[in-house]
Structures are given as structure tokens and as C-alpha cells.
Symmetry: D2
Subunit: 277 residues, 4 copies
């Protein structure tokens, strides 16, 4: 993972010059530089990859002096981020992540998998990872989420990844992990929010289906979109065939979104993402 | 345009055998054959292209005897269909259709263009076609639609093509042209129905935008979908850039949908289209 | 897997009528029917899915009487096809197939994996499948292929799947498995045949890369194409990033092609495939 | 068209800081900033859009002092570029450009159209533009190109656009317009160079066809690629249908490439393009 400086602040004249000046004076070499100004919100975003060594705390202090007072300035994490996966019964997204993880392509350490059904246990065990079976049956939502939280707090993940976790999380739960829960929704949002999106797509007779990876917020299926992908279909696809076909894009979109988030390439500007890909 | 037999009826065993038997006994050669059974609605659809000559009225009578009583059996029209285009101010879909028409690639005769603004008049005149400027200002919707109807009834088109016509047609108007009005909507329906879909797409932060060609029914943006296409976008696109980018797919999708409808490749099964492409 | 009748023969008038007549008289119900005539070669192809029971040998005999003498008539296999996978070092295609297999989504039984390097052994063992490590070092090509053949003859697979197997097979080897070896090539063939296609793509500065699944014939990278897929790239992608990005489509294309072949939806017309998808 | 500073030079530490410093001291506001380093060639590219006024000759002088001696530094042109279109018989690319031009969406002034056949004359005249019919019959290539050059030298275009101009230009001709001739080739290069690419694609049985816009160099179909696009096809497409389908992407790709070139977003790094889109 390359070293990167990540900045978000109100826009003003001269920002790029000043920021690159700090890096220049510290003697590091810029590999790539991406900036964006959200002109509607007058907000500046920048991600700079560099080579060489610099004292991050000194550089941060210098940048804080130069940049607007509300600036969010940080360096990309130096450690491999840790994720905990939540799943239900479907294996395709989880299997894809496990294979990538087994060959060190995930850019994260999988701490374990929580599932509210037990079917996926064997798959997880094939990869020698902890599997936490926490059935939601005979529990209130609060009690079930409390059980989830115990596993999560013990594991201390950087991100929660909902790999086709088919239960809606409460706003109270979500509020504890802002911008740290990534979900894959099985439709091209905002089309077909809620349950059974493939049946909805079938009924509506669309000619393209899709999948959406997004950050989870307290409004169902309304969080900032990280990645989307689509595929053409036609009248001959049954609902079951749509579900099957959709799995291919679901796993691809989730992997893509995770790659972007784990590489710290995703910023938020309101409810929209700014992605330096 | 090849000769084609078009059939829609309740499904039952032996339909393909019986239908192709009639064609066989008439001595024509099947070029291509496409069938589909909507198993949910137990409805059978078939489009057969053939070479050779047969007496259509005799063949129809034979088919009516063999097929279920509610069968819809017909031969593809032998004449070039006639269309009337409705537009407003945007030129891109109209211009694309005019070029195709000028080089006999449209599979239709354009009878003229009606517009509720006058900007497109010069373009239409370049192609020596009638331009009917019918402003909606200072007219009630009823009176304006009455003016449209006068032009339409005089022209006797097979289809009305809404090439970015930005006014909503009344259910009374629409009811006069069932499955004969084709619209291009500037979003990937059912996402972003109604006005300003590109602004809606911007606000929601989607990573893909699209366009949808559909038959117009009395429910706004809810008619059967004929064709859809999408393109990737990112955070850097302003609303104006989305509008501009979207035009490329709007004109392509409308042309594609028209080609399918004019080739009589589109059937309806409830609110879904069955397309033999 | 549905029951299906598969026919290939010289084209003549009345084929569909006659073929469906046999099925009709046997009392089975046609679920779907796909036909194609290669007019250049005057060759007819048909795949019919049906429900119900019929005596296949009687039906075959009837069809042989009715159809041209060189007709290739058969029913889709009633058993799960058996495949043997050949790989080298890259895990992505293999891992994808193993996950699908573990959840009975592959439409085939994986008999084992042969590899000329040992890195993939652990992955295969996670899924409790035989791993045959057959290094090519210090062997002539003939001797190495002889070792492959011993494993293959013992396993008796229906198909050999080259999941990024990076050695060229001899014409003598290939000739033993006509239309039974499926390869994934890491370029959009016929662009970039041979070695290092991603480097070739980088040097040429293409804006799209792709992958191609094809049957292996004795001419390198020239066999009939089953499936292709592409993705956009730009100047910022290094060769290594192209390789990484390409893996996503390689595994998708190979899975797609396998699905088509294993479902017996792929016919050959000369060096081109006819696919009833 | 926004104001933009365009820089290409050998890479060295501190370039972004120094360049943005000049703009900062001149008091202009950076709207967007895109950079790329071709690490293989150690070459730096930058395109900066800014708002405000500055004395370009002073700024250039300052930049020349700061940047490596071989730096190519310039401001985007302040005038609308002028293009001359060369065509043969096919109307689709030309028609698309004429419509865009008629509505001021082309980012260029079309000075006229040269064609070696006369069929397109009527279309060009509809748009009140000069049409130069220069048949190649009964001329040597040299004499024909000499006739082209006379029209070109009289018109003084910034770019020549080959909108399906079906004759190969001589190296002597091409050498006079380096990086100033844009061609649309009807295949996904480097697949199917030369004549009849759609027939080649048909024979090879590819499942995807494409089109490529590129700068013309003295090696046929080998110039730097600006834009490419593809579409899926299947076995049922005849060569004529491929040609027809391909036209849709040809016109789209040419328009896209022109938009990029005319916006001065395209740099060359060897035979590859660097595109700041």
C-alpha cells in the first residue's frame, strides 16, 4: 500500500500549491495527485500518493496551520485494515472475499464471519477463520444486535462488511459505525429499494439489472453509493434467473467497493461519494 | 423488410408444430423462428420470418382453426410504417432520427414534426419535412391536445414518437393510441420518475445513469419498457454534464426502440415487453 | 437440468415442423425452442427443452428417418458432466470454480486439479479435492503430456478446463479431446495472441481490455470463441494493474463459458460457435 | 471553453508545487487539476483549468524558468478550433457531426467536407457547408492527395477528421499533419487491421465488436488510440448486420474522441495517449 495524504476542507485559492509545498519541503516525491472541488458545497478534496519518508506529525501540524480551520487532514493508515463480515445464507459474496483473502488480495484482514444462519459455517471453516453463528430466532432485534455487538467489540474491526446480510440493522446499531458499514444491495439503487428487488425488476420488465455497494446509514438503502454495476437482461429471464445472474455482479461490485474503501480512496461530500480511483 | 408471421395466444401443447405445419403446407421457407412462453401468464408468443409467397387470408383462416380461440394472429405489415414526431427544444433525438430517415435507415416514413417550441423548426426544414409549431402557451391542456390531435388525424401516423417532448399527455389523449406512442425518458426507469431525472441522479450520487424507451400509458413513466441503456459516471460530473452525457444514450436508446417496434419485434405480455431481437 | 433435444443438420424446408411433430406425438411439452440457420453453410441448429417423458431411442429413430442423412441428433446428457481442471499458479479462476462447485452451482463435478506448479495445492485441499502436481521441469513436453494423460485417463472427464494453465498443449494432445478443452485467454482475441497480452495491450495503448474463453484447437489461440468480456481502462493503468483488473473478467468469462458448455448450449458451425443462451 | 494550462515535461520533484505556485501568484483560481506521470518514460503531464485573468506570456516565461528545459508549456487555445472533414460514402459519422455542429455542440467550426464520392453532397448542403467532391478515379494517389492539399491549405484547418474516409493516406501526406488527423477505424484495434474488419470479425466468430478513434500516423491503423467502444454480438449477426450495428458505435466513438481532442484533453506519451477526461 503506498503512502498517501488525505485532505478535505473548505475550498480556497492556493490549496494545491500550499499542500504540495509542505510535501516538497519534506523532500518526498509525489507519485500521483488527485483533487476535486465540490463547487456546490465549496468543499475541496485531495488524495496524494508519495514516496519517501517524512515526519507525519510535523507535516500535519504544518498543514493545519496553512489550511482552513475545519480541515480534515490525515495520512492513510499504515496497517492492514481489519474487517468483520456479516452474512446470512448466500455464499457468493462471502466466497469471493474468502478466496481473495486467502491469496492476500483483499487489502484487509478478515477477523471472522457472523451469520444469522448456519449454512455458511463449513465454507468459513475451510479457510480457517472464526464463524459466529448468531441466530435471530427467539431474540428481539435489540437482543440480537446486542449479541452482534459483543462479537464486534471483541474483534475491533475497522469495517463491517454486509455480504448479503439479509436483516435490517437498527439506527441505533448503525449510528455506532458511521462510514464503517459497507453493504451490497441487489438492485441498481435507487430503483427497487427494500425487499425482493429482483422480483420487483421482473414485474417492472426492466431490460437491465444491477447491484449497488453503499455505506449504511439509518435510512434503508439511502446511504452514499460507492459502486454500481449492471448487466442486460431480457423477457426470457425468470425471477430465479435474475437472482442467479445478479449474484455475478453483486460479488463484483462488493469487491470493487471494498477495494476502494480499504485503499482509502473514498471521501464523502454530503450523501455523495468522491472517489479517487 | 422480411415477411413475418406474428402470433400471440394462450399456451398449449403442439403450437409450434401446428403453426409451422401451416407454413410448410403453404410451401414457404422459414428463415428464422422465435418463440417465448410466459409461464406465469401461460401465454405463447411467436415471430416467424419466412421466404416465399402464400395467400395470407387462407393461412390466417387455417391458423384460426388450429389455435386457441383468443389467438392474436397477423402478418407483419407490408408497407413502410408512418410516424409523427413530437419534440420540444432538444435536438439530439430528433436530429438522429432525421439523419437516419434521410438515408432510408429508419424503417419508417416521417410524416412531420410537431413541437411546442419553435427552435427545432430550422432543423426540420433542412430535411424538407413539415414542422408544426403548436405552442402550449395560453392554451388549456385540453385545447392544446386538441390542436395536436388535428395534426395527428390529418397525418394518420402508425406511431407517435416522443423525441424529448417535455409535456405530459393526458390519459384521454394516450387512450386514443394504445401501444402506438413511444417515449424516451431520460433516466434508467424506474429510478427517477418525473421531472429533472439528471438532477435527481446527481443528488442521489449514482455511479451510472441511463435512459429508457417505453410505450406511453396513462400512468406517467410506468408504461412497458422497450429498451434501456446506461453509462458510468462519477462524482466529477455536474448536473449539466450529466444532461449532456445522457443525450448520447437517449438518442441511441430511442433509435434502438424504434427499430424494434417498426420491425414488429415487440409484443406485450401484461406490462412487460417480449422482444424478438 | 431440463431435458433437451439437440439437432444439427443440413438445412431444408419443414425441419421445425417435423422435429416438433415427433415431440408432439410423444406427448411431451416444449418449454423453449431455439433454432438457427447458418445460411452461409446451409446448416440448421436447434435446441428444444421439453417436459414429460419419452422413449429417447424410439424418438431418435423417428427423427433419423425424417431428417437429412448427415443429421447429428442427440438428447442432452442426463448425468452431471465431469471436469478436470488444469492450472498453473494463478488462483482466481480456480478459486471461483471451486466456490461454485462447493455450492453445487457449477453444473459439473470437479474430479480434481492438475497443476504444473505446487502453489495451488493448499487451495484445492481446502475443498477436499484431488490435487495432482505434475511439474514440467526436467521433462520433455512429450513426457509431461504423457503424465497429464495418465491422470486424465484415470479420471475420465467429459471436459478439460484450462483455468490459466500457462503451457501450450501439443497438437497431438489437443487432438485427443476435440471440443472438450476449454481455455481462458487473457485478451480480447484476436487482439494480442500469444504471451503477455496485458503487456501488449499496455504497449499498444488500448482503452479497453478483455478476456476470451474458447475451445482449444491445434492452432494457438485460434479455436472457436465461446464467450468474451471487456472492461474500460485508461493511461494510468500499469501492466500490473491491467493484469489485476483483467483477472476479474477472466474468471467471469470462464465461468460463463463453462456454464454454456455444460448446459449443452454451444454448437459449432465451422470455427464459429452457435450459442442458444 | 474554460481556460487551461497544459504542461508536459520530464518528471522531477516539486513540479505540481512550482506550477500551481505560478498560478497562485498570478491570482487565478484553479477549478480542476489533473496530472499523470508516465513512470516508464519519466514524463510528467498536467492539465489545469482555472478562472480569472493572467498575462499568459509572463506566466509562460516564469514557468519556463522553473521547469525542466525540454518542457512543453502552453495555454489552451482561446479560439474555436477549425476542422475539415474527409468522408467517402457513409453518412452516419458525418451526419452526427453535422447535427452537433448545427447546434454548437461540436466545440469546433466545420470548414467543409471533402469526399471522394458525391453521395454525401446533398447532406452537407442541407447544413449550408462547402462540399468538395474530389474523385480519386483517373488520378494517381499523388495527384489526388495534391488536390486534397489544395483544399486543405485554402481552408487552414486545425484538424482533419476522417469520418469513414475509405482511402489510405500516404506517409508523405500524413507527415504534414502530425497529431492533427483523427480517424475512426471500424474495429476494436489492434484486432482486425486493414480492410473489411466486420467480415474479419464475422469469420473469427468474436462475441464483441468495436470501433477505435485514433491519430493517424504513417503506419496503417497503428496510431495512438484516443477512444474505443464495443458492443456484444452473437452468431445470428450477418456481416451486413455487423456493419449496421457497428455504425452506432463508430459515430459515438468518433464524436467522443473529437470532443477530447478539441477540448485539448489529449497528450501523447510515445504511441500512447494520456487523456484528462
Amino acid at each position: 500500500m503506498p503512502q498517501a495524504l488525505l485532505i478535505e476542507c473548505n475550498d480556497q485559492i492556493g490549496l494545491v500549491h500550499q499542500i504540495t509545498g509542505v510535501l516538497y519541503r519534506h523532500g518526498v516525491n509525489i507519485i500521483s495527485n488527485q483533487e476535486f472541488v465540490d463547487h456546490q458545497r465549496q468543499r475541496f478534496f485531495m488524495r496524494t500518493e508519495y514516496q519517501g519518508t517524512l515526519d507525519q506529525s510535523i507535516a500535519l501540524a504544518e498543514l493545519q496551520t496553512l489550511l482552513p480551520s475545519n480541515a480534515n487532514i490525515r495520512f492513510a493508515r499504515a496497517y492492514t485494515p481489519r474487517i468483520l463480515i456479516l452474512a446470512t445464507k448466500e455464499h457468493h459474496c462471502l466466497g469471493d472475499l474468502l478466496i481473495r483473502h486467502a491469496f492476500a488480495e483483499l487489502k484487509a484482514e478478515i477477523l471472522g464471519v457472523i451469520a444469522n444462519h448456519e449454512q455458511l459455517g463449513q465454507l468459513v471453516q475451510r479457510f480457517d477463520l472464526p464463524f459466529h453463528y448468531l441466530s435471530h430466532r427467539s431474540y428481539t432485534r435489540e437482543a440480537h444486535e446486542q449479541a452482534l455487538l459483543e462479537v464486534i467489540h471483541a474483534a475491533q474491526p475497522d469495517y463491517l462488511v454486509l455480504a448479503k446480510y439479509m436483516r435490517v440493522l437498527s439506527p441505533q446499531f448503525v449510528a455506532q459505525f458511521p462510514q464503517r458499514i459497507i453493504n451490497i444491495h441487489h438492485s441498481f439503487l435507487p430503483a427497487f429499494v427494500g425487499a425482493n428487488p429482483y422480483r420487483q425488476a421482473f414485474e417492472r420488465g426492466v431490460k437491465i439489472i444491477g447491484a449497488t455497494a453503499h455505506f449504511v446509514t439509518d435510512e434503508l438503502d439511502q446511504g452514499p453509493i460507492i459502486a454500481q454495476q449492471v448487466m442486460p437482461i431480457d423477457h426470457s429471464h425468470s425471477v430465479d434467473e435474475l437472482i442467479q445472474a445478479g449474484r455475478e455482479i453483486e460479488k463484483h461490485v462488493l469487491a470493487k467497493a471494498l477495494d476502494l474503501v480499504l485503499s482509502e480512496r473514498v471521501f464523502l461530500s454530503g450523501n455523495r461519494t468522491v472517489i479517487f480511483d
